[in-house]
């Protein structure tokens, strides 16, 4: 049986852990509010961008040559998976569920005989994927030193993707991130960004014809690269909000579990203490009786 001192120190250590998880939960809650506002503020831009692109793409006649970013290169044998994860752990299943989605997709593609390459954004995703796909990871972007996520960070990632595309390194690009639904629900999502998946044609749009300035194909060559950065930016913001949400609920659970553990340990401690007192009393009494 553990001594009283052991039990005391065990309780103290669980209490210290509980304090840490409690603090982490509160920090995550504060950060979540900011990340959530940022993610929600970015949504209108990405949505409008989609509308503009689909309207412009309709302005390009089917027969005319269109930028490869829009229609694809005509091949689908090399895939690039851009996996966006967090830089830190201790946020429940957040990182592993994104990595799992990407891994499943990669395994499925490889079974079809396609080549798969990875671009990892965030250290955790790299850590999770390097064991199985180490040689296929072409690049890792770390955002560890970034305090406030800005458009320029997404832009530099977008530029890397376009550079690789123009060098013919891949023909289809899919973005993996976690969409923020609520604090307890984050949905790992795969989004194809090259070639662009256009939403279904809206009825309203066919009623009028746009004038373009400059020509639609030139316009698209400006718009499409920007769209990639915008989608990456949105993914990063959604991810940031999801990460904080996941961390908050994970830490809330941890705090609750620690409380439960403290309760059990304290009960055990008191029981042991009482047992020892009783034992001592019995010893004294039986000693006195023996005289």
């Amino acid at each position: 049986m553990p001594s009283l001192k052991d039990l005391r120190s065990r309780i103290a250590s669980v209490k210290a852990t509980q304090k840490i998880t409690k603090a982490m939960q509160m920090v995550a809650a504060a950060k979540l509010r900011r990340a959530q506002t940022a993610a929600e503020a970015a949504r209108p831009y990405a949505e409008r961008m989609e509308k503009v692109i689909s309207a412009t793409a309709r302005g390009v006649p089917e027969s005319a040559p269109a930028p490869a970013l829009l229609r694809g290169t005509g091949h689908d044998d090399v895939h690039l998976l851009v996996v966006c994860t967090a830089e830190r752990g201790l946020c429940g299943a957040f990182n592993s569920s994104i990595a799992r989605l990407a891994r499943d997709k990669a395994t499925a593609l490889m079974a079809e005989g396609k080549t798969v390459k990875f671009l990892c954004v965030g250290r955790k995703g790299y850590d999770l994927l390097k064991r199985q796909f180490g040689a296929q990871i072409v690049e890792t972007v770390e955002l560890r030193s970034v305090r406030q996520l800005g458009f320029e960070h997404a832009d530099s990632i977008g530029r890397k993707i376009i550079d690789l595309f123009e060098k013919g390194e891949f023909s289809i690009c899919t973005l993996f991130y976690s969409r923020f639904r609520s604090v307890i629900q984050q949905i790992p999502t795969a989004l194809q960004i090259i070639p662009v998946e256009l939403p279904e044609q809206e009825q309203e749009a066919s009623d009028f014809v746009y004038e373009f300035e400059p020509e639609p194909d030139e316009l698209l060559s400006v718009l499409l690269p920007r769209n990639i950065s915008v989608q990456v930016f949105r993914a990063l913001l959604e991810n940031a909000a999801s990460e904080q949400g996941a961390r908050m609920s994970a830490m809330d659970n941890a705090t609750r579990n620690a409380g439960e553990m403290i309760r059990k340990q304290t009960l055990n401690y008191n029981r042991t203490r009482q047992a020892m007192i009783t034992k001592e009393l019995i010893e004294i009494i039986s000693g006195a009786e023996a005289l």
Partner: protein, 133 residues
Amino acid sequence: MATFPFELVSPEKLAFSGEVEAVVVPGLEGEFTVLKDHAPLMAVLKPGVLEIDQSATQKKKLFVRGGFAQVSPSGLTILAEQAIALEELNAAQIEADLRSAEEDIAAAATDEARRIATEQRDHLQELRTALQI
């Protein structure tokens, strides 16, 4: 004067949304003014000053960069990578930022850092040219 709905969106936020009378847009091929019932148009913008007339007395000026305008029967939408209200800018601050960007370029250790600093400088120079118009 008749008004129409106008929205200015940047990746960080919805910078402006509301009914306006006229908007002067710095198009890549020249400035143009959008009034109510403008013909449907898609245009790339050059870095420059966007003028919003909400009413005869209420006017607003913003600097936009990396922008794109869509005029449809349902109104005008401008997507801009960056949108700053002119009153938030002042020449001395820009000059100071420009100098620090130059220093960053000189001090940059990696190609990536140099690229970012150069971009920063170019943006500031665009800003300066736009404001002197």
